[in-house]
């Protein structure tokens, strides 16, 4: 490509526009933290930061699979359903069917993987939007759970799980509960998966251009099946953490994550159009959402006003750095 710029101009450091959303998202995490510290007493205290990180971890793990699927150009609305399923099934199996905790968890993980794989496979092979398939799967799951438990799930989460998510538990000298370490583990796995594996490159390739990816010998059905299975497994892990948090099964426990998992991805700066973004941004997005919610609660804002404020703030963040380009620039 010939340009009018002199040759030495190419050697100047160029602004990395691709990095802008990541920088802005993390700057917002910092800014919100400062705002919280200034406006609410004890916002920066250890117990407050700890509970912030616990809530952030559950949302962050729930949004990990969403990030993977969104980068690939899809969307997963069954994450909430799978989280609820995990939350209800494990205590219920242990209380009514005599399952050990390990067996119940293994069974739930297996079922999640199968459900996710089936959603990804179906939506890709029939070329129907995954939003609808996963929404339908979510409906089916919550209906089945209600029917199976009669709306009143039995049992409670294993105590080791409850303590892993409890603010009172420390990991040795680090004054944070193990759930934060689980989140860090998920983050490392996600980073390696997206940046250092063939599968990760194929996910980006499919998101950027499905047609071009096929010419590059990416097998779309296989990648979609695996990605949705992984998303479901990660949702199951998030559901486990949620069980530790709630302590017992609740048929509505996953509901907030239906849209929050999408919001965390988008507020972090990953485009729903696919092909761009990464999990680092989603971590920032999860922290932003949790910080905003904590701030609003701390300021004593009424629940209805909290929702309205959250809606306005989501739009403000996305307008700041998540806007699509004008059609003229997309051609």
């Amino acid at each position: 490509v010939r340009t009018l710029a002199p040759s030495w101009a190419a050697s100047l450091p160029r602004p990395r526009t691709a990095q802008m959303p990541t920088l802005l998202a993390w700057a917002s995490v910092g800014a919100l933290f400062v705002a919280g510290t200034l406006s609410i007493e004890d916002f920066a205290s250890l117990p407050s930061v700890r509970s912030l990180l616990i809530l952030g971890a559950i949302l962050g793990i729930a949004s990990a699979g969403q990030t993977l699927v969104v980068v690939m150009g899809g969307l997963d609305l069954s994450i909430a359903g799978i989280m609820t399923m995990t939350n209800v099934m494990i205590p219920h199996l242990m209380a009514t069917r005599g399952f050990s905790a390990e067996a119940a968890i293994a069974l739930t993980l297996g079922i999640s993987a199968i459900i996710g794989a089936a959603s990804g496979f179906t939506s890709r092979i029939l070329r129907v939007h995954p939003l609808l398939i996963t929404l339908g799967v979510g409906f089916m799951l919550s209906g089945l759970l209600l029917a199976w438990t009669g709306g009143a799930p039995q049992g409670s989460a294993p105590t080791w799980l409850t303590s892993a998510v409890s603010a009172a538990t420390h990991m040795g000298p680090i004054p944070l509960p193990p759930v934060v370490a689980v989140w860090a583990g998920v983050a490392v796995v996600m980073w390696v998966l997206l940046n250092r594996t063939t599968f990760g490159r194929q996910v980006y390739a499919l998101g950027a251009s499905p047609e071009a990816a096929e010419y590059a010998l990416v097998r779309p059905v296989r990648v979609w099946t695996i990605a949705f299975a992984l998303s479901a497994v990660l949702a199951c892990v998030a559901g486990l953490m949620l069980s530790g948090f709630t302590g017992y099964g609740d048929v509505n426990s996953g509901d907030p994550y239906l849209f929050d998992s999408v919001a965390a991805v988008v507020v972090g700066g990953t485009s729903l159009l696919g092909g761009r973004g990464g999990y680092g941004r989603t971590i920032a997005g999860s922290l932003i959402l949790v910080e905003i919610q904590t701030l609003l609660v701390g300021l004593g804002v009424e629940p209805a006003t909290q929702d309205a404020a959250l809606g306005v703030i989501i739009v403000a963040f996305v307008a700041l750095y998540g806007r699509e380009r004008h059609i003229r620039l997309r051609m």
């Binding site: 969307l75 179906t122 029939l126 070329r127 129907v128 939007h129 939003l131 609808l132 398939i133 929404l135 339908g136 799967v137 979510g138 409906f139 089916m140 799951l141 919550s142 209906g143 089945l144 209600l146 029917a147 009669g150 709306g151 849209f259 999408v262 919001a263 988008v266 485009s271 729903l272 159009l273 629940p303 209805a304 006003t305 909290q306 929702d307 309205a308 959250l310 809606g311 306005v312 989501i314 739009v315 996305v318 307008a319 998540g322 806007r323 699509e324 380009r325 004008h326 059609i327 003229r328 997309r330 051609m331």
Partner: protein, 333 residues
């Protein structure tokens, strides 16, 4: 021109041409016919004016909301409107508390314009966020979903507040005709007028291929903006139907409709990728969604299974629609 392509010209094969245009709705109408037959079998008096009015009164809000939400979906590029449910709630509580409190006359000439005005304004906000600010539709309308829901919660009406009497007549037979048919026909009539304008072709063109439409001079930004405004306008009619049905104010009454309306649109054969589908299918899709619930209620199936059936029917109909599209493409090839 080959003999094969001539066979599909309108003069020779009018039915084939109609199928080319409306074939996407096959699954929805097949399901609607089956569900109507089942309902008729279960309730012998299903087709009497009285019973039909009752069924249609229940079906009207979700059916009209399905028609509404189909329009942004047709505009493509991930177009969707999650805010229809809370918008129905917001219009419902606003109307009932204003008329009951006496700030607004309860007559139709006052109530209807106010409802439609709120609908258009909310649709305009969605449209500006999506089309002008270029925020991805699912995020923009999620934000307004939260916003409208919160506004509905903030309007705290008198618990005894009731809707104007004349509105309730649209949930009962009016003469020999079921009253709830009127709002549905109003929306379909408005749509038939809109279809006569260039907007219709622009909408499908934008949904099918935004870049090509833009190059061809289609005002894609305005088209998408209008898609959301019309969605808001139709949602306001859905809110009037809902108010007619419940006769009171309820800040959460519309919220579940968001997901059922999207399910109805998908069932009606409208592709989420945009540019394919239409309101004819959405009509059958929305009615079917309601009839499923109705059949399950009549047969005393526990409420738990209603949610499950929504999901199962949504998945099954999407799979059937997907297979239909593949079959149509093969036939054409």
């Amino acid at each position: 021109v080959t003999a094969g392509s001539l066979r599909l010209t309108p003069a020779v094969r009018p039915w084939a041409r109609a199928f080319e245009r409306h074939g996407y709705a096959t699954v929805a109408y097949a399901l609607l016919i089956v569900l109507t037959m089942v309902s008729w079998g279960l309730e012998g008096d299903f087709f009497t004016n009285e019973s039909l009015s009752q069924t249609l009164a229940g079906a009207a809000p979700v059916t009209i909301a399905t028609l509404a939400v189909t329009i942004p979906i047709l505009s493509g590029n991930g177009g969707i409107d999650l805010s229809v449910g809370p918008l129905i709630s917001l219009i419902n509580v606003t109307l009932v508390s204003l008329t009951y409190g006496g700030q607004l006359p309860g007559d139709w000439w006052a109530v209807v314009p106010v409802a439609l005005g709120i609908g258009c304004a909310s649709g305009l906000l969605n449209g500006v966020l999506v089309s002008v600010l270029r925020i991805q539709p699912i995020v923009a309308t999620l934000a307004t979903f939260l916003l409208y829901g919160a506004l509905a919660d903030m309007v705290v009406p008198d618990p005894a507040a009731t809707a104007p009497d004349w509105l309730g007549r649209f949930a009962e037979p009016i003469g020999p005709i079921p009253g709830p048919l009127f709002p549905i026909l109003l929306v379909l009539g408005l749509w038939l007028l809109i279809v006569r304008t260039p907007f219709n072709r622009y909408l499908y063109a934008t949904g099918d291929n935004e870049a090509a439409s833009f190059s061809a001079g289609v005002p894609v930004v305005t088209v998408r903006l209008l898609a959301y405004v019309i969605c808001g306008l139709f949602t306001a009619v859905a809110a009037l139907s809902m108010t007619a049905l419940i006769g009171s104010a309820d800040a959460n009454v519309g919220n579940p409709i968001t997901l059922t309306a999207i399910a109805g649109a998908a069932l009606g054969g409208t592709a989420l990728a945009g540019g394919r589908g239409g309101l004819l299918g959405a009509l059958a899709g929305g009615l079917s969604i309601y009839l499923v619930e109705n059949v399950l209620t009549v047969t005393h199936v526990p409420e738990f299974y209603v949610t499950f059936s929504y999901g199962a029917i949504l998945v099954a109909s999407i799979v059937a629609n997907g297979l239909l599209v593949i079959a149509l493409r093969r036939r054409r090839a």
